[in-house]
């Protein structure tokens, strides 16, 4: 009986009903993994130690359907299309002032605790106000010089979703 079940499971008879189920399954998988839960392969070290180079994760595109991006959220930021995205952490919202002083993050001149970062370089960035419709994002890896790190304010519209 077990052999019969496995045979039917792995080598099913190609009936019209099976064909319909197969098509529905393929369509559902395509829809889910291209529009809802987009798989991401991480390249680069800008989000270490939270996300390691070469690891996999998913972008949850429904993350901001009913909520707005907030401090500490890790988001996927799109470029011209959706095949290449940046993973960054939101550290400041529109209207807030962001600053780095000797590696310490200050938002509205108040120090922000960042338990997710490992020992970092003493970054210094003069205070700047985040423009309307934008958020300020930065990677978790602060062991690279500030000049070589992709960071800054980005339009909220470019946020593709949250990261699982």
């Amino acid at each position: 009986m077990a052999t019969s079940f496995f045979r039917r499971f792995f080598f099913p008879e190609f009936t019209p009903r099976f064909a319909v189920r197969l098509v529905v399954l393929i369509m559902a998988a395509l829809l889910i993994f291209t529009q809802v839960l987009v798989p991401l392969r991480i390249e680069g070290q800008s989000m270490e130690p939270t996300y390691k180079d070469g690891s996999f994760t998913f972008c949850w595109r429904g993350r901001y359907l009913f909520t707005k991006p907030d401090h500490g959220d890790i988001v996927a930021i799109r470029f011209a299309g959706r095949r290449v995205v940046l993973l960054k952490r939101i550290i400041a919202l529109a209207g807030e002032t962001v600053e780095f002083r000797n590696g310490i993050l200050l938002v509205n001149s108040r120090q922000v605790e960042e338990p997710y970062i490992s020992p970092s370089l003493p970054w210094n960035l003069p205070p700047r106000k985040v423009e309307l419709g934008k958020v300020y994002v930065v990677g978790d890896n602060r062991s690279v010089p500030l000049e070589r790190h992709h960071m800054g304010q980005v339009e909220v519209q470019r946020i593709m979703g949250g990261v699982l």
């Binding site: 390249e43 680069g44 930021i77 470029f79 011209a80 299309g81 959706r82 095949r83 290449v84 940046l86 960035l125 934008k134 994002v137 992709h150 960071m151 800054g152 304010q153 980005v154 470019r158």
Partner: protein
Amino acid sequence: MITVKNMFVATLIALIVGGSAFWLWPNDARAIRSRLAVIEKAGTKKAGEHALEGQLKARKIAELFQDPCQLRVETIKFEGAYSRQQIQDRVAMIRASFTKADVDLYDVGVELSAEKTAMVQGTVRLLGARTGDPMADVQEFRAEMLKDNGQWFFTTVTIVEVLDR
């Protein structure tokens, strides 16, 4: 004999042939994409590449640009007109600074206009190594192209500022 099955097979073959012809038929968008493919091919550098090969590849890239071509980098608020020779020299210099490099273009969109011009938008990703240290960079670009003597050339290239520090 005409049967439903034969009709179905004939329709399927007609669709495949028609679709392939439509997909493979030469057009301006395809010509532009093939020009962009030159950037990927000539921009990529294998470890141990000969200097002469590097110069030839830099020249291939420079030949894609109108002489002069307007270049803009929004992040550093830079804008300037570069001759084809200057572009070749700059490309050769950048390539030489890498021990190996891999250039890929993603999500390329081509929008043609009536006056033999086109707008191109996409994402360029550079993965490489400089003196053993790996480096990765991603930038969004926007470009204007002009058809001149049957060939498409970049007239303006802008590196778009996605993250404003």
